[in-house]
Symmetry: C3
Subunit: 402 residues, 3 copies
Amino acid sequence: MSAVDKYVEALRALDFSKMFNNDFFLTWEKTKDEIDATFLVADALRALRESNISARIFDSGLAISLFRDNSTRTRFSFASACNLLGLAVQDLDEGKSQVAHGETVRETANMISFMADVIGIRDDMYIGKGNAYMHEVADAVDQGYKDGVLDHRPTLVDLQCDIDHPTQCMADALDLIHEFGGLDNLRGKKIAMSWAYSPSYGKPLSVPQGIVGLLTRFGMDVVLAHPEGYEIMADVEEVAKKNAAESGGKFTKTNDMAEAFADADIVYPKSWAPFKAMEKRTQLYGEGDQKGIDELEQDLLRQNAQHQDWSCTEDLMKTTKDGKALYMHCLPADISGVSCEHGEVDGSVFDRYRDPLYKEASYKPYIIAAMIFLAKVQDPTAVLQDLAVNAKPRLLGAPVGH
Amino acid sequence: MSAVDKYVEALRALDFSKMFNNDFFLTWEKTKDEIDATFLVADALRALRESNISARIFDSGLAISLFRDNSTRTRFSFASACNLLGLAVQDLDEGKSQVAHGETVRETANMISFMADVIGIRDDMYIGKGNAYMHEVADAVDQGYKDGVLDHRPTLVDLQCDIDHPTQCMADALDLIHEFGGLDNLRGKKIAMSWAYSPSYGKPLSVPQGIVGLLTRFGMDVVLAHPEGYEIMADVEEVAKKNAAESGGKFTKTNDMAEAFADADIVYPKSWAPFKAMEKRTQLYGEGDQKGIDELEQDLLRQNAQHQDWSCTEDLMKTTKDGKALYMHCLPADISGVSCEHGEVDGSVFDRYRDPLYKEASYKPYIIAAMIFLAKVQDPTAVLQDLAVNAKPRLLGAPVGH
Amino acid sequence: MSAVDKYVEALRALDFSKMFNNDFFLTWEKTKDEIDATFLVADALRALRESNISARIFDSGLAISLFRDNSTRTRFSFASACNLLGLAVQDLDEGKSQVAHGETVRETANMISFMADVIGIRDDMYIGKGNAYMHEVADAVDQGYKDGVLDHRPTLVDLQCDIDHPTQCMADALDLIHEFGGLDNLRGKKIAMSWAYSPSYGKPLSVPQGIVGLLTRFGMDVVLAHPEGYEIMADVEEVAKKNAAESGGKFTKTNDMAEAFADADIVYPKSWAPFKAMEKRTQLYGEGDQKGIDELEQDLLRQNAQHQDWSCTEDLMKTTKDGKALYMHCLPADISGVSCEHGEVDGSVFDRYRDPLYKEASYKPYIIAAMIFLAKVQDPTAVLQDLAVNAKPRLLGAPVGH
């Protein structure tokens, strides 16, 4: 039996045909089958690579990355995913390029896409902007393809926007699938997606929004906890409610961290900025009002400081299921006594979960690769089987197979 | 019949043997056969790629890019071309490297070339400098090869210098070949290479120079139009005259935009800086006279402002052949009412030609790839046929062939 | 006979099994067999490439580069080596990434390593820091591998630290092997590793330390010369003494440049900063004492200026063996009358040795590739033979073989 047979078999039961030549923006825009297919392909690609079997489907090809915010993890995950499939990454650096000099998005999108198979964008800083910008790019290359300017349709992968962080949340979910021994085992599990105090300011909302928007699809008991005033986007809450209703799960909110943690199977304590404040910041930024932005920052830091008790302490962890809830984080975390005086999590808690946290992160390159694979390959099961049967070694001279 | 048969057949009639192990600087340094061969190989490589057939001739190898000016299009075109052929691009970033710290060109050129197959340079800012610098690099690696320091001779590709912009102009010409249904159909066609007003300052002369230096070789009626004082390099005008005489075409100059546009088949309205001003700027730069440079900039902006009427308006377009001349631009354009109040072209004109403009740009990666291919491959027709016959899919599992 | 047979044969006599899945830090941490194996594999890889035979052992894979100091040569050598073997380089740019924002080394090292085969680091600026940092990274990925976070163990290559510059010194040694016609011919040869005056300040000690730490292993007569006060690390002197005793060579020190040059077969005149000053600088840097650093710089420049007579002049060269010692330098050199008024070497001396200097540098990419090869390939002789026998052309259509 080949390294990918079980994934291929599971894939046969799913309908994911619309992922071909499509993009990956928000997880809730994908059907349950499409989400499941992404997990399976990610696992299959990992099985290939860990068996020293090349998963290189592109003999040549470009992947373009556009990071409008600093990034280590997502940048390297994207680079790893593209390399795994045979694509070379070309950064579109707005400092180096002419993008900043008044070019329209439409023009640039076409100009960089003549030989681009994938475009990955991170644009998470301004509410109402990041996801909209990505759609503008996707629409532009769509039009370019229809107009015959491009002979192919580059796939857009959302590497974090103002609404969702799909590659992170899908990787988190795949980690949970493996931690709990299967997707079905997530049913009924309680996860506390909780705000936590950080001395820094203005962290994106995309992770908490992405988590409640995704995990509610698996019949989980999803609790969103935050102090008053730290609401996430109302639209995403509606998505989470609807998902929970459909999946037989639960979506509840609380302003009490302890309530969220009580008997939780999984906790995800993380700082974020209030949605309304981020909206105001976006407006001030649009007006070029730096003074207003600075004042807003001071206000938010003061507001944050009132909630230093929102921290993932050892005492709080004891109240979780058997005192052993899985602690998750997208990293880097603000760790009390390590990276700051008071932060999101006690140093001892973080330390105990270091390996699980790293494993959680390890799924992201494979999730991104799966998103690309499903968008570019017309018959994913056939190609996965071909790769496994041909079993071209990734590293010459090393054993093939586990 | 394979995807490249017709190009291979046409190539057989041409003599381009001296392109092997050579560089690509100015188009007028190449014979007509060599220019034609470059078009044919570009088309052949495009046919391969659009048939999902790998054109990867390098199993490994490096292409070095050195951009002394910001660039999106050319950077991505170069990256695309190199990737198509199997080369990885390594940027020589003068900020990051020690080039800025007094190293001689000769030393650096050799140090970066031990495994470099191609060196692409953009250096267009200073009159008398860019092309000279590229030759210095080419001479250095030539010497390195002769002295046994390098076991091979890296190929230099001029990605825009102070004299010519060969990759742009060759791509423009290939676009015209396809727009007009063949190289022979360009004979007698009138093109207006015209200065146009832009509120910005100091745009390079390489595009107008490259256009009149190249298109005069195809028997075209090439009109160079600009206000008095916006002369291009006299040497290039001589080249254009000589070309026109040899090809049975025409090269004329006028200070009247309307005259140039009248009954033109193609118009290329674009801003550039006066040659003499750029020469003075180079001198001031050499003297480190920032005050002088600033004053020159103000002078030039004032001079420009006197010619706001040099714009590609709807009215002017109506005077062209059937009112339907092909509008060309190397992009990005300064568009009236879009990117600036008054610019090179009316918004409605630009909008109407958006798709043709994007198609024009789409040839550049293939032109660059063809330049590299012809310089590195000893028997290009044989290798093109091999690629077509072996038909290795670029993307696994996708259909091969149109 | 294949291109690599003689190297493979020589390799069979050596024990280098512990290099597999290991790192390359200091040369004196490697056995003599391991050092010799690195030379042989470097030569074999060069023979393959110069025969147009692909040495690509990775079908896909990432190499991460982290340069904490500007670099052209080492950056390009690393990129060339990785490309030769099939790895794509991904820069970890501390400006772009979140490394600077308080992440622990352990976390970052794991986060970037999920698909990384190699990590190359240059960190040479602070005494007691660079090598320690590299070990921290190596330990982190070691732990990650043991903990199951990583499915493989990325190899660390020291691209220059505060103690050694192993890729430079191994390349220098391989150059000597070829210059003198074999490793055995180095026995008894006198090399003057001498301080030389430079108007700049604070050059790393890694080259002189690396040279005396490595060349003493080959039975050479190694003389370290410098003015009083320019001592290198005492630990490295001990290593050199021990090496010389074991190899039947010599390691002596002098404060007289002429004595070192007298009858030398090889001279390596190069500026460096006094160890104690660099130690103090590291301390001041740690304290954030910029004023102290500036004062130290002035002191050191004054101290340097007292030793302008320490220069590799034509007169001094005449005193070497037959007046024809091989002049070596890691480049770039400070050349009297060229890059500075008074520098490390006379312009005419440098000029005469330009080709040998470039050849010296040409070995670095192959040395780095050999270090990676030996760390990643379990049976290097078998894989080298496979590559030679399969003889896949690196460039399609070019002749295979010399």
